[in-house]
């Protein structure tokens, strides 16, 4: 459920994101999920892959500022109310989410995943598991 996420500092200029994803692609690495938010001059690109350490290494070699953070992945039902059921559990337990993003894994299965950054992720994991939720398990 707790997985590793790579954060990359990206300057806002045309083509920069393509250059960075090229580096990842050239190393034969598949991106499972990503999110990017921006300010006027820069953004933080967040990526989930199955090869976190390798991605970190190649990006650092290309002079990028990169860090690894743990995040929680939770599988939810891809139907109305699916997301709010998870958020209620967290809210009831006074757990704050710093940021989150979502992706659909397989439309046939009615499953979707949310990735959340939570300060005390171990406690959140325990509570979510107790409520029957599960997440991605990525072994490197």
């Amino acid at each position: 459920m707790i997985i590793k996420q790579i954060s990359i500092f990206v300057e806002n200029r045309p083509g920069r994101l393509a250059e960075i994803t090229d580096i990842i692609a050239q190393n034969g690495i598949n991106i499972r999920a990503l999110s990017i938010a921006d300010t006027t001059h820069f953004g933080i690109l967040r990526i989930i892959t199955e090869h976190t350490n390798q991605v970190e290494e190649v990006l650092k070699k290309n002079d990028l500022t990169v860090s690894i953070t743990s995040v929680i992945s939770v599988c939810i039902n891809d139907k109305p109310g699916g997301l709010s059921s998870v958020l209620h559990v967290l809210a009831d337990n006074d757990i704050q989410i710093e940021y989150m993003y979502a992706f659909v894994s397989d439309s046939k299965k009615d499953d979707a995943y949310v990735v959340m950054r939570i300060e005390d992720d171990l406690r959140a994991q325990e509570i979510l598991k107790a409520h029957g939720f599960y997440g991605l398990e990525i072994d490197e």
Binding site: S7, F9, H41, I44, D63, L64, T65, S67, T69
Partner: protein
């Protein structure tokens, strides 16, 4: 250690008597040999024998870079070409370069001045020195070259550029001293780490003779830490002779002038009035010994202050502070005088960002937009946007404290700002004039 102990530790009264005698001779020498000075001196009516004490120098005319340019190329030479054995020229980023000529005696004097400062900084005949200044018309490389050979050091004239080759030779030769600009020293250390060399462990460089551009204490600390070396600052400019005008001893409490050859004064850049010991202002230098290209009261545009106290090292010659900046480099932003070195000193105190920076000035709706681009190094801040915003605020606040201005701070990717092997150009002024 001294190179010319008798002169370097000379009693001040004796030194001043020597300076006065040389100054009187210089005035007549310039009058007789340089039309530019003849005209000026005739107009003021001053001759050598009218100068009774050193402070009378204030009655002599000032010389500017513009004057030298106006007499391009050889108009201010005091000797015919048969006596001139070397020509150098300034980089001349705008317009014609300033051209200077040396007689054989000038070259000897110059070498001895450089030898004094490198010995004062701790170099000796046992050292292997790599010179990372560009060779050519620029005085930096050849000045240090001959001064170091003069003390018996082994000189490796690697010149600037091809940093990786520099590092390879440095490792293979066991080089112990590096001559470079402060920013190139930092850049070299970066490249060394990129190619898997730890300058502290894998290289033997123990001493840095840095010059040709200003170096703040904070930047020096960074260089020393990156290299595991002791770094000293030296000062000079091609118009005066090149490097060798002043340099730090191992106590590093100011740069000792070669005062028997270069007479320093401080003036107010605006009123042109003389300022006293310890007062900040523009450095003005009179060359007391030069034959080929003598200068009376040359305005260096460098801002510093003077100290005449005898140094702990035993030297009696006046010291100048590290230059605060150049009145040329000084940029006026919203009516405030800003020296790039002030910005540098703020940045090197903030470990989350790199020491390289770029100042961008633009006119937006009739007012000046002041932005500073800085490289983000600390990846731990990527967890939250608020951390990066907090860093931007912290830097802006420090700038506000130092400059009295509140620039917009832009974080950029590491190594995205241009690196400079020579003098760094850090200001992009796009303001409407």
């Amino acid at each position: 250690m001294y190179w010319q102990k008798d002169i370097e530790t000379m009693d001040r009264a004796e030194l001043e008597a020597l300076q006065l005698a040389k100054l009187k001779k210089l005035v007549d020498y310039c009058h007789d040999n340089v039309p530019f000075y003849r005209e000026k001196l005739d107009a003021s009516g001053i001759t050598g024998d009218k100068i009774k004490c050193l402070s009378d120098i204030q009655y002599l005319p000032l010389t500017t870079k513009e004057d030298i340019r106006n007499n391009y190329p050889f108009g201010m030479f005091a000797r015919p070409m048969k006596d001139i054995v070397r020509i150098h020229a300034s980089s001349g980023t705008t317009g014609k370069p300033t051209v200077v000529g040396y007689t054989q005696n000038d070259l000897e004097m110059w070498s001895n001045c450089v030898s004094r400062l490198v010995v004062a900084a701790g170099a000796s005949a046992d050292d292997i020195v790599q010179i990372a200044f560009g060779y050519g018309l620029f005085t930096g490389a050849l000045g240090l070259h001959y001064g170091l050979e003069n003390i018996g050091a082994t000189v490796v004239p690697t010149s600037s550029g091809n940093t990786e080759k520099h590092l390879m030779l440095m490792k293979d030769f066991g080089t112990t001293v590096l001559v470079s600009t402060p920013s190139y020293a930092l850049y070299m250390a970066e490249i060394a780490r990129d190619i898997g060399l730890d300058p502290r462990k894998d290289l033997k460089v123990r001493l840095g003779l840095l010059g040709s551009e200003g170096c703040t204490l904070e930047m020096r600390d960074k260089i020393e830490e990156a290299w595991g070396m002791f770094a000293t600052d030296n000062y000079g400019m091609s118009e005066l002779v090149g490097p060798g005008v002043s340099g730090e001893c191992t106590y590093r409490c100011g740069l000792h002038f070669a005062e028997d050859h270069f007479f320093p004064e401080i003036i107010d850049s605006n009123t042109l009035e003389s300022k006293g010991e310890g007062e900040l202002g523009e450095l003005v230098i009179t060359t007391l010994s030069k034959e080929g290209f003598p200068l009376i009261r040359y305005r260096t545009k460098d801002i510093t202050r003077l100290n005449y106290e005898k140094c702990a090292c035993g030297r009696t010659h006046a010291r100048m502070d590290k230059t605060v900046g150049r009145s040329d480099d000084m940029i006026k932003i919203k009516g405030v005088n800003v020296f790039p070195t002030q910005i540098e000193s703020v940045l090197v105190s903030i470990p989350e960002v790199g020491p390289h920076y770029q100042i961008v000035l633009k006119t937006v709706r009739h007012t000046t937009d002041f932005e500073v681009n800085i490289e983000l190094l600390d990846a731990s801040l990527l967890t939250k946007y608020s951390e990066l915003e907090g860093l931007q605020k912290k830097i802006a606040h420090k700038m506000q404290t130092v400059l009295g201005l509140n620039p917009k701070i832009n974080l950029v990717e590491p190594k995205s700002l241009e690196r400079f092997a020579g003098k760094a150009k850090r200001v992009i002024d796009l303001r409407e004039k």
